[in-house]
């Protein structure tokens, strides 16, 4: 399957603005950021979580713990994959018991990744609550999961893909819609 | 029945023949070997592009009967021999009970006579029950048709007993066929000791386990004047020892198997128990030495050490597997393909290693196409190409490491006492 970029739906500034807004919403919803931690889902949720935490610190002047969750071992599709995904470390180096955890991912689609992340998170301890922040919500949920903080809602078809690119991994910031090229 | 074998290349080392000639056979005897023979009555065999040789002799086979008929019996073994181009085989006495008395020897000859495909000559034991202690009644064994003595597979470890065996066998002009192996040095060994035994983690058998035993037996042959025949030599040290002994005038002969001439110890790496054999497969430098010794005349004959086994004793843990290779049906093709075709061994020498070589060791009046002699004839098709398929063996032993190998140069026809017994690897009649 080959993909071709169709159009850019968010540029560098757009992403920055969306994260700033989400940071404000997180602070507002939780009435401050005491006992809040941000945990990104590997891979692109990681850098997004770092940026959100930085933004929160800029606004509130207090740093929040940041972690990265690797959900490979919790995926429900392992037996259907052609080749083995690489497992990476989960880097949550703080006690999550009693905290409000803001899970961060780039795109919310079927909800299966978030389901896996919830399981992975709960195996690390018993947070007070878990909230979900995503840069893009593209619809088509297969599980009863909904985001608390959304950068942008993007209606898509099944034949399209959303690619979130971040500087830390892809050397530029943008969100594009891709379409499948028939070969 | 008269047979006229026409137009083949007759290779008869006993008469120094290597030429296109015809052979007339009648009443089980060679009548004439000449150019342009004609006969109105005889069945004509077109031998164009074939090699016509004296019947091949394999002086070292295990036919397993009596006692181990689930591995092989005299009928299946005779068929395998005939299909493999052999007209005479000598069967080792490690049966159950062992061939250490006239009754067993006579039984084997009778069974072979009934099968009627191959001359089966029994080899008696050196010691009672192959136990290595008391001598067998060799006079009785000779009278029952035994042509040699051996405790094959159970080397006579006591030097005094071996000395007496050589001494006593000398009275009957019996060669003593020695499986030379120092059992203390080879204990628990699974393969040749060397690079590959380290790699495969299997207990090694040093070449010296064979050579120490050969050296002892050569000295005992010198001491006694008996005829020592060393079975299946496999190391370059063995070649050197036998060469020196021969130069010294000691009555020593020896044989080599096809597998020790073509397959190295690297093959053990799959842990396929079909590569397990005693003595073990050796590295290439030993194989090269054996090949040179064939040409040089240090080695007197090729023998298969045909050792058929039932599936369960090979389809198991390598360490638990029985050693041995089912060799009768691949021997000729292996030698043709691996040694003769590439020019390592010339065809006349090859034929002598299968004919005059063993005949001289055992004092047989076979292995020749001299008119008047028994018409045992082996025809080879040097151009036939076939893939080894153990499932099609006549032998009950399908144990071969050569399955799937494509070989060129196969037995074309086997004629025993003037009667066609096998044609292109298939038993006739």
């Amino acid at each position: 399957m080959q993909l071709r970029d169709k159009n850019v739906i968010m540029d560098e500034m757009g992403i920055k603005r969306a994260l700033t807004r989400i940071a404000h919403e997180i602070i507002e919803r939780n009435k401050g950021i005491e006992d809040v931690a941000v945990v990104g889902i590997r891979r692109r949720g990681g850098p997004l979580a770092q940026r959100l935490a930085a933004r929160i610190e800029e606004i509130e002047g207090i740093s929040v713990p940041v972690g990265i969750l690797d959900i490979t071992l919790y995926r429900d599709d392992l037996t259907t994959l052609a080749s083995q995904p690489l497992v990476h470390r989960t880097e949550v180096n703080f006690d999550i018991n009693g905290l409000t955890i803001v899970l961060v991912d780039d795109v919310l689609y079927t909800g299966r990744t978030v389901r896996a992340a919830l399981d992975a998170l709960i195996d690390l301890g018993r947070p007070k609550s878990i909230q979900l922040a995503v840069l893009i919500d593209r619809g088509h949920r297969e599980l009863p999961i909904k985001a608390d903080f959304i950068g942008k809602n993007v209606p898509t078809s099944h034949l399209e893909e959303i690619a979130v690119r971040v500087k830390e991994i892809d050397s530029k910031d943008e969100v594009v819609i891709q379409e499948i090229v028939k070969t | 029945m008269r047979l006229l074998i026409k137009g083949g290349r007759v290779i008869d080392p006993s008469n120094g023949l290597n030429a296109i000639m015809d052979i007339l056979v009648d009443e089980g005897r060679i009548v004439a070997v000449e150019n342009n023979l004609a006969d109105d009555v005889a069945e004509v065999i077109d031998a164009k592009d074939k090699l016509v040789c004296p019947g091949f002799i394999d002086m070292h086979v295990h036919l397993r009967e009596p006692g181990l008929e689930y591995k092989e019996d005299i009928t299946s073994g005779s068929k395998a021999a005939a299909a493999g181009g052999f007209t005479t085989v000598c069967c080792m006495p490690n049966t159950e009970p062992a061939i250490d008395n006239a009754a067993i020897a006579s039984f084997i000859r009778e069974r072979a006579r009934k099968t009627g495909l191959t001359n089966v000559l029994p080899i008696g034991t050196i010691t009672r029950g192959r136990a290595g202690n008391e001598l067998s009644e060799m006079a009785e064994l000779v009278s029952a048709g035994c042509i040699a003595v051996s405790d094959d597979g159970s080397p006579v470890m006591r030097a005094d007993v071996m000395r007496n065996g050589l001494e006593y066998a000398k009275m009957f002009s019996l060669p003593v066929l020695a499986h030379c192996e120092d059992l203390n040095l080879s204990r628990d060994g699974q393969m040749h000791e060397g690079y590959y035994s380290i790699i495969y983690g299997l207990k090694g058998i040093p070449a010296e386990a064979e050579e120490v035993a050969i050296a002892r037996d050569i000295m005992l042959a010198r001491l006694t004047g008996g005829h020592l025949h060393v079975c299946h030599i496999s190391t370059m040290g063995a070649v050197d020892l036998i060469r020196e002994a021969k130069e010294e005038g000691i009555k020593v002969t020896c044989e080599v198997t096809p597998h020790h001439l073509v397959l190295s110890d690297e093959a053990v790496g799959t842990y396929d128990a079909n590569t397990k054999v005693s003595p073990p497969l050796r590295p290439w430098e030993h194989i090269e030495a054996l090949r040179e010794a064939l040409n040089e005349g240090v080695i007197d004959c090729i023998a298969t050490d045909h050792a058929p086994h039932h599936l369960e004793s090979k389809d198991c843990e390598y360490v638990l597997a029985s050693p041995g290779i089912s060799g009768l049906e691949t021997a000729v093709a292996l030698i043709m393909n691996e040694l003769v075709n590439p020019g390592i061994l010339d065809i006349e020498r090859m034929v002598s290693l299968f004919t005059t070589g063993p005949a001289e060791i055992l004092g047989l009046d076979r292995g020749t196409l001299t008119p008047g002699r028994v018409a045992d004839v082996t025809l080879l098709d040097p151009n036939m190409v076939k893939t080894v398929d153990p499932a099609k063996f006549y032998s009950k032993g399908k144990n071969t490491p050569f399955g799937g190998r494509e070989l060129k140069g196969w037995p074309y026809m086997t004629i025993r006492s003037g009667k066609i017994v096998a044609r292109e690897g298939q038993i006739v009649g």
């Binding site: 259907t80 989960t90 | 000791e193 790699i199 983690g201």
Partner: protein, 313 residues
């Protein structure tokens, strides 16, 4: 990657550097799981693994068992008495029986070299060799390599001495194969009667003197000496063995300052390793055990976690 394409893990000889790196990298997150309060992930739910040991072993078998359980695989242990096997059922039938019970993977220990290779050819189950005769013990070498990498940061170009009974040691062989792929200089040292004749052909250096062998090494891997080798006449006494080859703190002066001491266990204190050294902080013998579970979890995940039948066969 080559490893993903093969059905079994029989030895390190046939793995390449990338395969080994994948296993060691995967073991890292696995080790984190072992250290959590909730030591379980659902990854191998619905998969079944049998450990079949034809030779007694506590730590390797337990290590595989708990590795399977941490990954939520159903784990069953069979310890088979070899002597009863000799009389009874053929190995092939035993394996078939285990196979048709639905196991996906079998961990096998056998006293006879090559047996896991034979079994692997005759079953659809994936096979992990947990030690076969004097041939290979790949998971032990992998955990040794993991332990070394953890402490040294990298495996590349280290100097490593393996001390003891090289002749009979599957741990030594697997370590030699594995470490050689990272450009390590591997030295083997032990009595001449416990040294294979052509060991240099494996690319290692042979020593008979312990101090010489330890000169400038980064890692010392001390092998367990089997007491029954003495009864076979391979060395005169345990006392003399200890005099010549027991690793004690004073030997470490020859080695690098940050030398690491490994031992596959169980230890014969006072024979191949002094008690003082075994309990010192240069020895990571207990850490090795934890790492063993992590490495085995990594392997079980890599071999059972994906689409099983597409990769097999």
């Amino acid at each position: 990657m080559g490893f993903e394409q093969t059905k079994d893990l029989l030895g390190l000889r046939e793995l390449n550097r990338e395969d080994i790196e994948l296993i060691l990298n995967t073991a890292l997150p696995m080790k984190d799981i072992i250290k959590r309060d909730i030591k379980k992930v659902p990854t191998l739910r619905g998969k079944a693994l049998a450990t079949v040991f034809y030779e007694p072993s506590t730590r390797t078998r337990t290590s595989f068992e708990i590795a399977g359980k941490y990954l939520s695989a159903d784990t069953v242990n069979l310890t088979v008495n070899t002597s009863s096997v000799l009389k009874g059922e053929s190995l092939r039938d035993t394996i078939k029986t285990i196979e048709v019970m639905g196991f996906d993977l079998m961990v096998m220990r056998h006293s006879m070299s090559g047996t896991p290779h034979y079994v692997a050819r005759n079953t659809r189950m994936r096979i992990i060799n947990a030690g076969d005769g004097a041939n290979e013990h790949p998971t032990q070498a992998l955990l040794d390599m993991f332990s070394i990498k953890e402490k040294k940061g990298s495996l590349d170009n280290l100097k490593i001495a393996i001390v003891g009974d090289i002749l009979h040691s599957r741990v030594a062989r697997s370590n030699i194969y594995g470490l050689s792929k990272f450009g390590c200089e591997v030295r083997v040292v032990g009595p001449s009667t416990l040294m294979p004749p052509e060991i240099e052909k494996l690319g290692v250096k042979r020593y008979y003197n312990l101090d010489e062998a330890l000169n400038g090494v980064d890692v010392i891997n001390v092998l367990r000496i089997q007491r029954e080798r003495q009864q076979l006449g391979l060395f005169p006494s345990l006392d003399e063995y200890a005099d010549l080859y027991m690793l004690s703190p004073e030997h470490l002066l020859r080695a690098k300052d940050d030398v690491l001491v490994l031992h596959p266990g169980p230890m014969n204190r006072g024979v191949e390793i002094s008690s003082q050294l075994a309990d010192s902080n240069v020895a990571v013998i207990n850490e090795q055990v934890t790492n063993g579970v992590a490495v085995r979890m990594a392997l079980l995940f890599l071999m059972m976690g994906g689409a099983k039948d597409e990769i097999a066969n």
